[in-house]
Amino acid sequence: MIQHLVDGILVGSFLSLGAIGLTMVMHILRFANFSHAELLSIGAYCALVFDKLFESVLPVLSTKFGPLSITGALAVSILISMAVTGFTAVLIDRLIFRRVRQKGGELSMVFASFGMALVIRNIIGLVFGLSSELYSRDIAFAMVLSRDPLLLVKPDQVFVLFAALIIMFGLYLVLSRTTFGFSLRAIAENPSLAQVHGVNLRRMVAAVWIIGGALGAIAGVFYGLSYQITPVMGRDLVLPIFAATIVGGIGSVYGAVLGGFIVGVASNLAPVVLPSGYSPSVPFLMILAVLLVRPNGLFGEARA
């Protein structure tokens, strides 16, 4: 029981990272972006490429940090991948979403994003093959935290959790303390008014995509580190990430973080209560339960 709870929190950490980007995009651009989880795939594969590259060029970098399976090469690759994924997100927006936005409505955006998800996922499958990949084939064994009740935790997961919490805190500071953060909020509340006050909408939209892409890349790499990288990981992750966003309330970064943890814990506790065949439904039952009590999610605001 306690094991499931701890596992849920650890799983929740990368769901939260993914959900932060999604909630910002959904809030500012006002559409449910079904291709958001593909940014995680792009990030994971991009880091994989650079990781392999660095390891072959500079073998020094392939030593691991302590009990973690992260190497120097992977650490550098994550940074590169964040940048690449962020700019890819901006590029996709410039090429596709902005044009759709100008001509069509919210629903056009939703379906354009669904179409883009299909395109990205299958291009990755064509380039990298459909089999799964790993950053490191070594199995990172879990540490026994307690014997009774049995509690096992993998070092990588603890690292991922803390890294995620630090990143979230950093983002919180940026959003709550800087002019940039205020501009972003202004845009979300009232785009026209914000523009009158000299906020550059295009630049802000690009910034949101970069943040979303970069966080997505980290989430993707963390996911790959804990499990495996496949071309369809975006498809598998999109629903839990949506669930986290909705439970937290669209537009609320804190909500997304909390939502991620709630969904993580709920899906890990599910097999305790229900036959495990039913576990895919659990995030949705969570959503339904939350929405019945709070129709705009835990931290969401009603919006016309």
Binding site: M26, A32, I96, R99, V100, K103, G104, G105, E106, L107, S108, V110, F111, A112, F114, G115, M116, A117, L118, V119, R121, N122, I123, G125, L126, L130, L239, F242, A243, I246, I250, P275, G277, Y278, P280, S281, P283, F284, L285, I287, L288, L291, L292, P295, N296, G297, A302, R303
Partner: protein
């Protein structure tokens, strides 16, 4: 030549069945503005309901009542309607992106129950052994398919006429009024919640009818038939065809299903042998691009909603397309 006709009959049957489902969704979204992300739950309820009621008795799972076919089909529709009523009661007051995800979740849960509740639904193996109606008389071949297509087209026509009538009726105006401005509708003494629920249930029953016909045509249904991809396909048909326009919805069904299957055929025919193994992925890329391309080129759909003016001569100035607001 006979091959081509036989294939076209088959294709048209499936496209028409999907078309019926698109019409049901059009009532929900196009006319009422309900973002139903769980189309496949209604579709599945119709298919499972029909096959369980109309099929022969089976070991190991519920159903097999061998009901007279039209009754079985009605039962399937009823199942879809009841499910929609419960879901609607719970979720229709949500804002539409929340509504979409909530209904989507219902569909995932539906698939899950079908997959796991082996003793009721046959589990992952699905329900087989259904005797298609009139098979004794018509055999299994081309004649059967042709007659079945005729039947499907009749149903499609009935649904079409029903919805066209509904759209121009006072009730149809009321639906659009709620879609456009709920507060205004409420101020006129209408009850948006009730009207929305009626529209949601009616749409779902129509989608369930499509599901029932689908299960009948394949004489089989399994959890693989009720995966979320179907929801996406039906929505893509509506968006490409033109939400709010009955004819557009139908055109979208044929167009998207045509593109979906034609791309596979064309690739198997013209792609070089070395590329054959990759055509599956390439096809998905193409499908994605077609949808994105359509949205870039004609976001209001091929046949945008026409504003129906109930009293000619007034409101002429309001010619703007209403599809998206």
């Amino acid at each position: 030549m006979i091959g081509i006709i036989s294939y076209l009959v088959f294709f048209t049957t499936v496209a028409s069945i999907l078309g019926i489902a698109v019409l049901g969704l059009n009532l929900q979204w196009g006319n009422t503005g309900l973002f139903n992300g769980g189309v496949v739950a209604s579709f599945g309820a119709g298919a499972y309901g029909t096959l369980m009621l109309g099929g022969p008795a089976q070991d190991g799972h519920l159903g097999g009542f061998g009901l007279f076919y039209p009754l079985a089909l009605l039962g399937g529709m009823l199942a879809a309607g009841v499910l929609a009523w419960i879901v609607g009661k719970l979720t229709l007051r949500l804002r539409h992106d929340y509504l979409a995800i909530a209904t989507f979740g219902v569909a995932v849960a539906f698939e899950n129950v079908m997959r796991n509740a082996t003793s009721i639904t046959g589990g992952a193996q699905g329900i087989r052994g259904f005797e298609r109606p009139l098979r004794d008389v018509l055999g299994d071949g081309f004649t059967y398919n042709a007659v079945f297509l005729a039947g499907v087209l009749v149903v499609l026509l009935l649904v079409y006429v029903f919805l066209e009538r509904l759209t121009v009726s006072p009730f149809g105006r009321l639906l659009r009024a709620i879609r456009e401005d709920e507060t205004a509708a409420r101020s006129l003494g209408k009850s948006p919640d009730r009207i929305r629920l009626i529209s949601f249930v009616t749409g779902s029953v129509i989608i369930g009818l499509a599901g029932g016909l689908y299960g009948t045509f394949y004489a089989f249904v399994s959890p693989q038939d009720v995966l979320p991809i179907l929801t996406f396909q039906i929505w893509a048909m509506l968006i490409v065809g033109g939400a709010g326009n009955t004819r557009g919805a139908l055109a979208g069904a044929f167009l998207i299903w045509g593109a979906w299957t034609f791309s596979g055929w064309a690739l198997s025919r013209f792609a070089p042998v070395e590329a054959q193994l990759y055509t599956g992925s390439i096809q998905f890329v193409l499908i994605g691009m077609v949808i994105v391309g359509m949205l870039l080129w004609r976001p209001q759909g091929l046949f945008p909603e026409r504003l129906i003016v109930s009293q000619p001569g007034r409101n002429r100035e309001k010619t703007q397309v209403e599809g998206f607001t």
